[in-house]
C-alpha cells in the first residue's frame, strides 16, 4: 500500500465568474449582445499543487471562505480545474450534511443507488443493507421517501451509507456534527475502529481535536492559497495564529 498515489493535483486553480444579472437565456444574450454583463471574478483557489498518498488521512483547515470546499470539490473531480490537472485513482465521495440523495426516492432506493455509485455490486449492497439501516436508526422508515425525513435522519442515513459502503477516497466535511450525542459517539467509534485503515480520507473540520487525532499531515489554507502542507501540529499553529 505504501507510496501509491491516490490524488495528484498539478498546478490547479479555480476562479468563479459571477455575473450580477442573469445572462442565461438565449433571449437575454441576443438582446444584450453589445451590453456584456458586469462580471466579478472570485479567485477561490490560487495556483497550487499537491499529492496525496493512498491510505493517508489529511486534515484540511482554514477560516471560512479560505477555499476549503472549492479545493475538496476540485480534488474530488466534481469541479473541473481551470489550469493544470487532477489525477484521481479510484472512486471519490464528498460528504457533508444532506449528501447526494434524491428526495424523490425512498431510503431503500437511495441506499442502492448510492452504494452502486460508490462502486458496489447489487449483491454487496444486499449484504450491507441491514447494517446501514440499523446504523442509521431508520428501521421503520426504509420505504419512506427521503423528502419526508427530518434533516437529522437524512444526515444519519448519508453518514451510514458513507461509513458502510465508502468510496476509495472520502472527503469528509464536518461530519462529526451529525446526529445526537449517542449517534456521534457511535460515529466516532466507527471512525476510530478499522474503518479509517487503508482508506484515503480528507478531513475538513474546525474542530482541531479531531484533526489532531486522526491526521498526520494537514493542509492550512488562507485566501485561496495553500499556505502550509505538512505536519499537523504545525498546521494547527498557523491556523490558531490566523484566528487571532
Amino acid at each position: 500500500m505504501e507510496n501509491v498515489i491516490a490524488i495528484t493535483a498539478k498546478d490547479i486553480s479555480k476562479t468563479f465568474h459571477i455575473s450580477e444579472d442573469s445572462h442565461n437565456t438565449v433571449k437575454h444574450r441576443l438582446f444584450n449582445l453589445f451590453n456584456p454583463p458586469t462580471r466579478k471574478d472570485v479567485q477561490a483557489l490560487k495556483l497550487t499543487s499537491l499529492e496525496i498518498q493512498k491510505g493517508e488521512c489529511i486534515g484540511l483547515i482554514g477560516r471560512n471562505g479560505s477555499g476549503k470546499t472549492t479545493l475538496t470539490k476540485v480534488l474530488a473531480g466534481v469541479y473541473p480545474t481551470d489550469t493544470g490537472y487532477v489525477k484521481i485513482n479510484g472512486s471519490t465521495m464528498l460528504m457533508n450534511l444532506g449528501v447526494g440523495m434524491s428526495h424523490e426516492l425512498t431510503a431503500r432506493e437511495n441506499i442502492y443507488v448510492s452504494g452502486s455509485v460508490l462502486g458496489l455490486k447489487i449483491k454487496e449492497v444486499d449484504q450491507l443493507f441491514d447494517e446501514i439501516v440499523e446504523f442509521a436508526e431508520i428501521q421503520d422508515f426504509v420505504d419512506t421517501k427521503v423528502k419526508f425525513f427530518s434533516s437529522g435522519m437524512m444526515a444519519r442515513l448519508a453518514f451510514s451509507i458513507a461509513v458502510k459502503a465508502g468510496a476509495d477516497i472520502m472527503f469528509l466535511d464536518e461530519i462529526f456534527s451529525v446526529g445526537d450525542m449517542k449517534f456521534q459517539e457511535k460515529a466516532v467509534k466507527v471512525f476510530e475502529g478499522s474503518w479509517i485503515q487503508g482508506r484515503t480520507v480528507i478531513l475538513v473540520s474546525h474542530g482541531m481535536g479531531v484533526i489532531e487525532k486522526y491526521c498526520n499531515r494537514s493542509v492550512f489554507m488562507k485566501n485561496g492559497q495553500i499556505e502550509f502542507f505538512g505536519d499537523t501540529g504545525k498546521a494547527i499553529e498557523y491556523y490558531t495564529m490566523d484566528n487571532q
Binding site: T25, V78, S91, T92, M93, L105, V113, L118
Partner: protein, 265 residues
C-alpha cells in the same frame, strides 16, 4: 474518447448493473407514482392514436391501408424521441445528486434514463405487435424482415442520446432552450411522415426524408414491420450517419460544458 469511455465501462463490472438499477428506478418513478401506474404508459399511445385516427381518417378521409397500425408505429417512435430529448433537457439539474458528491461519469445518467425510456418503448412495441397481428384486418403478418427493427431502434437510441446530450448541456448556458426545442419539435412532428402517406410526403417535400433523421427512421420501421420488405439501406446508412455525428457533438459538449454543471446549475 468514445473508446476510452466504453473500455472504462467494460472494465468496471458493476457499471451495467448500475445502469440497469438507475433505469429501473427511473421507470418506476415515472409510472408507479400515480394510481393508474403502468397503465398510463400503455394508454397514452392508444389515446394519441384515437385522436389522430379521428382527425385523419374520419374527418380528412385519407386512404392509407391499416391506418391505425401506421399511426401506432410512427407515434411510439416519435414519443420515444420526444421523451428522450424534451424530457431530458433538465436532466443535469434533476439528477444533480448523482454527480455532485462523487466523480461518477455523467454519461451513465443519460444512458440509464434512455434505457428507462426503452423499457417503455418495449412495452408499446409489444402492444403494437399484438394489435397489428390480432386486430388489424389489413395486416400482412410477421416476417423475417421484422428483425431489422433492432437496427432501427439502435439508430433511434443513439440519435436521441446525441440530441439529449446537446440540449441538456446547452441548458447550462441558456435556460430557455426548452422553449426553443418545443417549437422545433412541433415543427419536426409535422414534417415527419407520422400521419401522411409516404408518396404525398415525398412529392411535397422531395429528399426531405434524407434531411430529417426521424422521418427516415419511421419510414424504415414501417417498411420492416408492415410492408414485408427490407429497410431502405441508403436511408438507414444516412440516419446512422446523423446519429453518430450528433452523438459525437453531444459527447464533446458534455466534456466541455457538462463538466461545469456542478457549479453552474
Amino acid at each position: 474518447m468514445v473508446l476510452k469511455i466504453l473500455n472504462d465501462w467494460f472494465k468496471g463490472s458493476n457499471k451495467f448493473e448500475r445502469l440497469w438499477l438507475l433505469a429501473k428506478i427511473e421507470f418506476k418513478l415515472r409510472y408507479y407514482e400515480n394510481k393508474l401506474g403502468l397503465l398510463w404508459a400503455l394508454l397514452k399511445p392508444l389515446l394519441d392514436i384515437i385522436v389522430y385516427y379521428i382527425a385523419f381518417k374520419v374527418i380528412l378521409k385519407n386512404d392509407i391501408p391499416a391506418f391505425a397500425s401506421f399511426l401506432f408505429i410512427g407515434l411510439i417512435i416519435w414519443n420515444f424521441f420526444l421523451e428522450s430529448t424534451t424530457g431530458t433537457i433538465q436532466i443535469l439539474s434533476v439528477k444533480k445528486y448523482l454527480y455532485e458528491y462523487s466523480n461518477m461519469n455523467k454519461l451513465e445518467i443519460y444512458v440509464s434514463t434512455l434505457l428507462s425510456n426503452s423499457i417503455g418503448f418495449f412495452f408499446n412495441f409489444v402492444m403494437f405487435l399484438l394489435f397489428y397481428n390480432i386486430f388489424e384486418k389489413a395486416s400482412t403478418g410477421l416476417s423475417f424482415y421484422n428483425v431489422w427493427i433492432i437496427a432501427v431502434f439502435v439508430n433511434l437510441f443513439v440519435l436521441s442520446l446525441g440530441m439529449s446530450l446537446i440540449l441538456s448541456t446547452l441548458y447550462i448556458l441558456a435556460k430557455d432552450i426548452n422553449q426553443i426545442w418545443t417549437v422545433f419539435t412541433s415543427f419536426l412532428f409535422f414534417l415527419s411522415p407520422i400521419f401522411y402517406k409516404l408518396s404525398t410526403f415525398k412529392s411535397a417535400l422531395p429528399h426531405f426524408d434524407y434531411a430529417n433523421p426521424i422521418a427516415g427512421i419511421i419510414i424504415n420501421a414501417r417498411r420492416i414491420m408492415m410492408e414485408q420488405s427490407p429497410p431502405d439501406f441508403r436511408l438507414l446508412i444516412f440516419d446512422y450517419g446523423y446519429a453518430i455525428v450528433l452523438l459525437t457533438i453531444g459527447l464533446i459538449f458534455l466534456n466541455k460544458l457538462g463538466s461545469r454543471a456542478a457549479e453552474k446549475l
